[in-house]
């Protein structure tokens, strides 16, 4: 079921089909996965759409890392720039 969800969003019926499960059994299974924080549910009209959480967590962490590391790299370049243009540093011209 998680492997199926790794391919994209599915509703409960679509999750049940490849496993020859009843809708109720699939629904119960999904609830367990949901409680474990492995999947996330979105309700669209009468359909419950499921998506995988662990992948999402990893992607969110990547995104956050990228955002932070972009700032850190900018700060590194800023520190270098300030050192290069330091009027008091030996070798640097006074403005």
């Amino acid at each position: 079921m998680l492997a199926t969800l790794a391919q994209g969003e599915r509703n409960i019926g679509e999750l049940a089909a490849p496993h020859a499960m009843s809708f109720n059994a699939a629904s119960k299974h999904v609830r367990v996965l949901e409680q474990a924080g492995l999947v996330r549910r979105r309700i669209e009209g009468r359909s419950h759409v499921l998506r995988l959480e662990p992948q999402a967590m990893a992607a969110a962490e990547r995104w956050l890392d990228q955002q932070r590391s972009a700032w850190e790299q900018n700060f590194d370049r800023l520190a270098d720039y300030l050192a290069e243009t330091d009027p008091d540093a030996p070798g640097n011209e006074s403005p």
Partner: protein, 156 residues
């Protein structure tokens, strides 16, 4: 404007801080002047090609930095300055687009304070993270959950 139903925005904020060996006036100038800012506010050279850089540092003024990465991805940063206190503070709001899709709208507050002979610079970013990757069939699925998780991790 989007015509499909957007998934909800998520929210997050984070702060990063650095002690810089320079006076507050020099740190401020690195934000306030085009020649200063273009020296450090950019992507790694060689990995990124500039498409456009505009810089109008005054309250209400706009800055834009758009570029294309080696892998073809286009990022586009457009900011509006909301508050400027020389040598102390800069506040701007910015949109971030990736491949033409808006992925976040953020408020960034830059605080500059003397600390001994150095200067403490703190950037706080408060963002609404959108579902720009969420179009059906796109290569990135589950962005809402990603953004929820991002918001959660940002609150740590």
């Amino acid at each position: 404007m989007r015509t499909d139903t957007p998934t909800p925005a998520s929210f997050g904020n984070f702060t990063i801080s650095r002690l810089l060996q320079a006076s507050p006036a020099r740190v401020f100038a690195a934000w306030a002047t085009q020649e200063g800012k273009q020296r450090w506010f950019k992507a790694l050279s060689g990995e990124w090609e500039q498409i456009e850089r505009r810089f109008d540092f005054r309250i209400g003024g706009q800055e834009r930095l758009a570029g294309k990465w080696k892998n073809g991805m286009v990022t586009d940063f457009t900011a509006t300055y909301h508050d400027i206190v020389p040598n102390e503070r800069v506040i701007y709001a910015y949109d971030l687009l990736v491949d033409g899709k808006k992925i976040s709208v953020s408020l960034a507050t830059v605080e500059i304070r003397a600390e001994g002979n150095a200067t403490r610079m703190t950037v706080t970013e408060q963002g609404a993270f959108l579902d720009g990757y969420e179009d059906k069939g796109s290569r990135e699925r589950g962005t809402t959950a990603q953004m929820d998780a991002l918001a959660a991790s940002l609150e740590d």
